[in-house]
């Protein structure tokens, strides 16, 4: 007992040692700086370089886009350098005046409300279908895939019988065309892509052969070629009155082109599903289509969400190529407007392209952001 009491042993400390000082700050602003920016020689160099790059780029950009920019004006005079205003930034007055053109193209001004109504219908459909808290999604899907397209056709093309004058698709343009082309591509490429992907893995030789030929052929030619073939070569074989509308031809071309890529994305997802899932589904007696629809595709599509959205973003930007067959999409309207003598200034083109870049960036970023949120939601609700 005595050995355990400190009093008898002089070499045992009678008082507690003072606690060690806390480790270097790992949290808070300083901690973050230390761990994220200055954690080693390489990181310090990279931090300094990045900082220098930001200083080099951001202030001139802000100056051009905001501080030196011209916000209002009637024509090129407003955006020209004058002795009292030697530096001229972005000519937003140009964008403001031509905004209608960028959105509607040559759509008759009196009928533009119809395009606005279409945008509203589309937005309702997108929110109904995609918002995580939306209710009655089946109804939303019926609305989005059946009701809305019909309404949109009536609205945009016109129906004289109910007092909507006809508007030819040659008058469509701007954002309207970009939204229609990419929307049709996005909506059709996934189901067609799924069918092609299943076809490529099919055991039926003819189905497989057709899928492989279609996918490899479409992937083997540039989108420009597909569009050219759709708009230039098709009329050579089909009589004039049978030849479909130019925009429709481009829509079909884009949708088929996107489908071939989507097929490969979906196939990658299918390959990620272990064989046991197929066997489990078969062993409980599910038929091929039920097995695919209930077991395999839900899992395969979930793992490919990032790739699917990647394809969608690429498709959205690829739609700019329809200008090559004479369709005025958003970027083409900007291209056309920037050479208008009324607004000919040194900054007009730059402003137009900056505007296009900002609009495309917002659209694409929203898509990628939504996809990331959805992934996070799915991984928390369906933990493996």
């Amino acid at each position: 007992m005595a050995a355990h009491t400190p009093s008898g042993t002089s070499y045992v400390r009678a008082q507690a040692v003072a606690p060690l000082p806390p480790p270097l700050v790992e949290s808070g602003a300083i901690g973050w700086l230390r761990t994220a920016l200055f954690s080693g020689p390489l990181n310090i160099v990279l931090t300094i370089l990045s900082g220098a790059l930001i200083v080099l780029i951001v202030p001139p950009l802000l100056n051009f886009l905001i501080f030196d920019a011209t916000w209002s004006g009637a024509d090129r005079e407003a955006c020209l350098a004058r002795p009292d205003r030697p530096v001229v930034g972005a000519c937003w007055a140009f964008i403001r005046e031509r905004l209608g053109y960028f959105i509607y193209g040559f759509y008759p001004i009196a009928e533009r409300w119809r395009v606005d109504a279409f945008f509203v219908l589309l937005t309702i459909g997108i929110i109904w279908l995609l918002a995580p808290t939306a209710r009655r999604r089946t109804l939303g899907a019926i609305y989005f895939f059946v009701v809305m397209p019909v309404l949109a056709c009536v609205l945009l093309l016109g129906w004289p019988a109910i007092g909507l004058p006809e508007v030819s698709t040659t008058q469509w343009g701007g954002m309207l065309v970009t939204v229609v082309v990419s929307g049709v591509g996005i909506v059709f490429s996934l189901p067609i892509g799924i069918v092609l992907a299943l076809g490529r893995r099919s055991r039926m030789p003819l189905v497989k052969l057709f899928s492989v030929i279609f996918i490899e052929f479409v992937r083997g030619v540039p989108l420009v070629t597909v569009l050219f073939m759709a708009s230039v070569m098709l009329p050579l074989f089909v009589p004039e009155q049978w030849s479909p509308d130019k925009l429709l031809r481009a829509l079909v071309g884009v949708a088929l082109f996107a489908s071939a890529y989507m097929a490969e994305v979906v196939r990658a997802g299918l390959q990620a599903i272990p064989r046991g899932q197929y066997e489990g589904a078969m062993a409980v007696g599910l038929s091929y289509w039920r097995m695919m629809g209930l077991i395999i595709l839900p899992q395969a599509l979930r793992v490919t969400i990032p790739n699917i959205v990647n394809s969608y973003i690429a498709l959205f930007k690829d739609t700019t190529l329809v200008f090559i067959v004479g369709i005025f999409d958003f970027l083409r309207t900007i291209e056309a407007a920037r050479v208008d003598p009324k607004w000919a200034t040194p900054v007009t083109s730059t402003t137009g392209y900056a505007f296009a870049a900002i609009v495309y960036f917002i659209c694409c970023y929203l898509m990628s952001r939504y996809a990331r949120d959805m992934e996070a939601r799915l991984t928390t609700t369906h933990r493996r």
Binding site: A281, V284, G285, R383, R384
Partner: protein, 260 residues
Amino acid sequence: MDQPTSPPRLRPAKLKTDVAIDIIGMHKWFGDFHVLRDINLRVMGGERIVICGPSGSGKSTMIRCINRLEEHQRGRILIDGMELTGDLRRIDEIRREVGMVFQHFNLFPHLTVLENLTLAPIWVRKMPKKDADDIAMHFLRRVKIPEQAHKYPGQLSGGQQQRVAIARALCMNPKIMLFDEPTSALDPEMVKEVLETMVQLAEDGMTMLVVTHEMGFARQVANRVVFMDEGQIVEVNTPEEFFAHPQHERTKLFLSQILQ
């Protein structure tokens, strides 16, 4: 549906004929490799057969042929009087009557336990959802995990997952159950709970074919033990005879290796 305190015994679906499975002169090749050679096995209704043998002996392939997860190239397989052919409708019909439990469970990870159980009854048997739910809960109580019904398979232990897999097969009210090494992927402490479930099932009179290395299970439950090696059935015998007086050298060697 009334909810009894202790789950009632289940009554396996009646077979139409006395012979549950009849395999006659079956051969199978994987490419050039002759996996199964002249397999002949007749399983009567209510019989419990344990199949054992060294790995690569073709025992898994054989029972996978019974519900056409693998295709046989020669010979005949009759399930309750129906012959397995390339006819897809016939295959689906047979799969509805034959339940299967896999080594790696093969549960559907994107569905809850309850959804895993009700999927096939709803989509294949066209059962109303409520009835399917009742039956699923009944079998979850049978395998003693009703409280896990709304979890996802990934949240359960291996033993629990395998019991869910057994319940999933039972929900289709099968006449025959196939088990492909049901305990091989489990941690040792979970083997017991799965074997207990299988013993109960055997006591209820289910026709069972079990590929396993659990010799205790074979002794306790099996009517006959089948020993396979190199794609052939080497020996079929009652468990007492099989373990006490193995007839063939290969059987003796296998038993000496597996029963230290």
